[in-house]
Symmetry: C2
Subunit: 456 residues, 2 copies
Amino acid sequence: MTSGERTEVRVAVLGCGTVGTEVVRLLTEQADELTARVGAPVRLVGVAVRRPHRHPWLTETFGDLVTTDAAALVARDDVDVVVEVIGGIEPVRTLLLEALKSGKSVVTANKALLAEDGPALAEAADASGADLYYEASVAGAIPLLRPLRESLAGDRITRVAGIVNGTSNFILSAMASGGTSYADALEEATQLGYAEADPSADVDGYDAASKAAILATLSFHTRVTASDVHREGMREVSAADIAAAKLLGCTIKLLAICERVHDADGTESVSARVYPAMVPSSHPLASVDGAFNAVFVEAEAAGQLMFYGQGAGGAPTASAVLGDLVAVARNHVAAGRGPRESAYASLPVRAIGAVPTRYHVDLEVADREGVLAAIAGEFARNGVSIAAVRQTGGSAGAADGDPTQARLTVVTHTAPDSALAGTVAAIQELDVVNGVNSVLRVEGLGRAVSALGVAG
Amino acid sequence: MTSGERTEVRVAVLGCGTVGTEVVRLLTEQADELTARVGAPVRLVGVAVRRPHRHPWLTETFGDLVTTDAAALVARDDVDVVVEVIGGIEPVRTLLLEALKSGKSVVTANKALLAEDGPALAEAADASGADLYYEASVAGAIPLLRPLRESLAGDRITRVAGIVNGTSNFILSAMASGGTSYADALEEATQLGYAEADPSADVDGYDAASKAAILATLSFHTRVTASDVHREGMREVSAADIAAAKLLGCTIKLLAICERVHDADGTESVSARVYPAMVPSSHPLASVDGAFNAVFVEAEAAGQLMFYGQGAGGAPTASAVLGDLVAVARNHVAAGRGPRESAYASLPVRAIGAVPTRYHVDLEVADREGVLAAIAGEFARNGVSIAAVRQTGGSAGAADGDPTQARLTVVTHTAPDSALAGTVAAIQELDVVNGVNSVLRVEGLGRAVSALGVAG
């Protein structure tokens, strides 16, 4: 069990894009510090890249260590740890399964693969006693998975809600602060390098859904895959939504939400979902702007926690990868291993329709007697309880505007999402409703929606 | 290396106050979940308390497990892990050294002991191969030490600045928001149970200084003890200071600051200090109110990170203790161990006088020609560069007030703290200076002090 047993830890890096370049750079520049922290030298023994000619720095610095044959590198006997920063499902899945099966530990930033096929990787790791670490897969540099997996291992996590996609948060922040349109904000994000040419993974919530799956799996000791996550993107968020949120003292954020949900009989299940939602401005998540990430965690004993930092970028992601690499290398030196997969709870995943949520509905209605009764009746018919109503404009209201038309803002209590969606659909058909300004879920997250005096 | 090798992990708990009670409660209530997470049952084999008759619940529930003889409990062969939540230096130091020397792992929340004699404990742990975990000693439930020690192990931490004492933050928040005096705010904190009968540890910064020592030790791989930490409490923060901070767009927080400091020749040293300082309102730490804690971390690759949550209280602290206990138990089951002490860097600790800081000075001055020149000359004589000056009142200024008197607000660039302190002392002696409203350090933390247009 002493550091003298192994003389060094030999590392293979797969992929050399933005993150991989930083990993290789830090690995060599900070070699002395890493050696001191690990208790043995950490030596780079190979880097696999598809097109070496695109990386002249790499080939000049490392020469023979650079290879195009990732499979051969992974298969080498003199590799102890495989660091994967290629991304995507194949050929990475095959490579990492091979590595784990042969007892090599894996450090990966690959959220898509973990969210699609994490259990297969975890089983391969457990079978051979290898380590599988993936801190960089969610929220970049923010230490989040280790706290969930280790620091809170003696607690019961009840809820994780976070901004885990920097691109969509940058766009929403720009729309909220500058009155910029979605299209203009997206263009700015693309020019700044935050958004890809095809922004779908970010703005349609696929990236956040992968992260939600990973977070839910760790938080609830239950296997949750990307396909279990209800996903709505933020392309449809309009200027009217932004304005409606402001009116309510809220900000719109694309949230990844994982929570324990309880039936009336106490049966427990898990909800994992991604959608744009209103968050009260007083909530710590509301002030997370630009490309930053932040994750709010609630646990029974620990209470409310928040983790904040850079969710993407070469250096921040490399920091997380290297933190994992040091942990895996220490385990290797000590002939031990890190915490294995913990999926003992195996809770069912609840469909979105049965998950309690809370809606905000902002309507244009006729300003005449009985309108509120008609609308309130529709909510009641669907079993949805109204938390607050505010009427503005019309004969009783603001000076400007059509006196025959009023604006009605409703915030509901929590109800099954399908009942809320059904209510909204029914209300739009009412004669007295002339238009819908905004329909969005409200994530009170335990705090007050002060503008309407609603307890969160 | 399989979970079958050891049949259970046997735990002794020393102390049964607020935290200990929660630890024992969670340990028994969540026994099944802990077993699943550890891979073996975690069994309470003894609880040492000085006065069992004060804990009827404990003796009724656990009967023979309760003992008054902590030393005998620690010495038992059938104890694998000792959890210490007594606090204070002796007899705890002797007990924990005995436990570690005999190979028993230790989980402790004892910041005072760690800050005074952490190296002795670390050496005892390393000598026998036992684990020493102490997440609960800093910032209660917030997973902070594990991220510093493990997640950022592949990065270089440059700065840690945080609100790590909830009592003083509660008092400062009350003073800032309600115009409450220090004395009234302290009384409210005492009534709410946040402050002790003798509040010195909190308001004089001793508690925060212990935490700063622990944070600096982990962040910079250098042994830093409480006596190395420069400490100023917050008893002297006045209503005038609060008002001056508001005028500058800042909030006053009692900060624990640990940072790498570089000489002109590149020589690196460490500064660890605790004092009340102005923080720009736009900074995430500024909005941390009440008894909450938050710690801002800057690292070379990861960039800026923040951790937020409850820093004290029975349940939150117990959450951190149990997280450590699960980690230690997992290590025990796997016959491995966690990261050992990392003090390889052994950087010198710099005295406060030589640490670069930035001052804010708010003066009442005569409103006549040459005043600014006299004051600016004093700064220059001490080698301190002025970042911004604002003059209000007087003949050129506000409508109300004495036209022969002006208010001068100065924010400096960074300079050695002794030069700044010397300048302030000299300025107070100038004829043209009629009074000092406020002198406080400004921790820009890399952000803009917007009110005066000073880059942070």
